[in-house]
Subunit: 201 residues, 2 copies
């Protein structure tokens, strides 16, 4: 005996990752309780994003401007491109505030199981970008998964002839991580990639 | 370097209970990825609810109609009123499909700490309802918390003079519950309220 309008709202809310039918109901009640402070502004923010968001033609980032803010920024280094799987990874790297080059979003990883081949990803665009502008370094910031590493190797293969330095993120013990809780793969990689103690900061 | 429109969306999403800054970002990306299937319909559903939702003047339920669907339904029993704390409780009871009377939503519980007295709840309205229509039973379906039980006792006190049967939900072992994991309070209540084995179904 829930009204159809509320039911519809709950059903859509339940589709948001992190929510489900139960949290969807809770969210709906919370939104209705805070109609003016949350429900209306959230709906407006959604419509605004719906109307104005687009994919950056250069790097694939989501923004209301095209090229995106990162690609537009004249202070950023054109000679380094950081290759990531998806927008969330770009956001994560931007939050560190440590990278000042450009990005290139692949839109996923190669995956035989899911039938995703090189032509489904923005790999050709990356190759062309590398040849068009004077790129000196490509950072392959892909996930440390089988798919991520396969994709990294494929890109490395394709860029063999281009005169560009190709690097990848370091693997090792996460900052704050305890050895006892680490998986064996990470620990053995960290051991194999050990560095002179004076190098670590 | 996230565009301001997306940032605004993330910030509002993060305020939904069950989400936070991290899930807010994930939700925003998911919504943008499914623009036509989710982002737009959800925004529209929100605006529709924002415009049309109101509190039922009789029971306090949220609906687009006033009186609400439950209060309007001629098949429901006028002689039983189930008193609950909030709308979510009414929804929970409706999901059981076992109750066919009317509801009365208090809008909270008495709480000395939060300074919530009888005049802040819809208690007066309940008393008037009981005297106005021929109510035979009041079910106090309040939470098994100190506040819920205090409120139940207060309402019982206020209804002393009315000729109405007052009942409360049974306390005991939840269906599917294991004794070993139950708190002592529940277990001792279940023991004290034990019933003849033939009574249990």
């Amino acid at each position: 005996m829930i009204g159809s309008e509320i039911n519809e709202l709950i059903q859509y809310l339940a589709k948001i990752p992190g929510l489900g039918p139960r949290s969807g109901r809770r969210a709906a009640l919370h939104l209705i309780k805070h109609k003016d402070r949350l429900l209306k502004p959230l709906a407006d923010a959604m419509l605004k994003v719906d109307e104005s968001i687009r994919s950056c033609v250069q790097c694939g980032n989501l923004d209301t401007q095209d090229p995106c803010l990162v690609c537009q920024d004249p202070r950023r280094d054109n000679t380094i491109i950081c290759v990531v799987e998806q927008v969330a990874d770009l956001w994560a790297l931007e939050r560190t505030g440590c990278f000042h080059g450009r990005y290139h979003i692949l839109g996923g990883t190669l995956s035989a199981i899911d039938g995703i081949g090189p032509e489904d990803l923005k790999i050709q665009g990356l190759i062309e970008r590398v040849h068009r502008i004077q790129v000196q370094e490509i950072i392959l910031a892909l996930n440390a998964t089988v798919e991520g590493q396969t994709t990294a190797h494929y890109i490395m293969e394709r860029l063999k002839l281009a005169e560009v330095k190709i690097t990848a993120l370091a693997h090792g013990v996460p900052v704050g991580g305890e050895l006892d809780y680490l998986d064996d793969g990470t620990l053995s990689t960290a051991l194999a990639s050990r560095r002179s103690f004076s190098e670590t900061s």
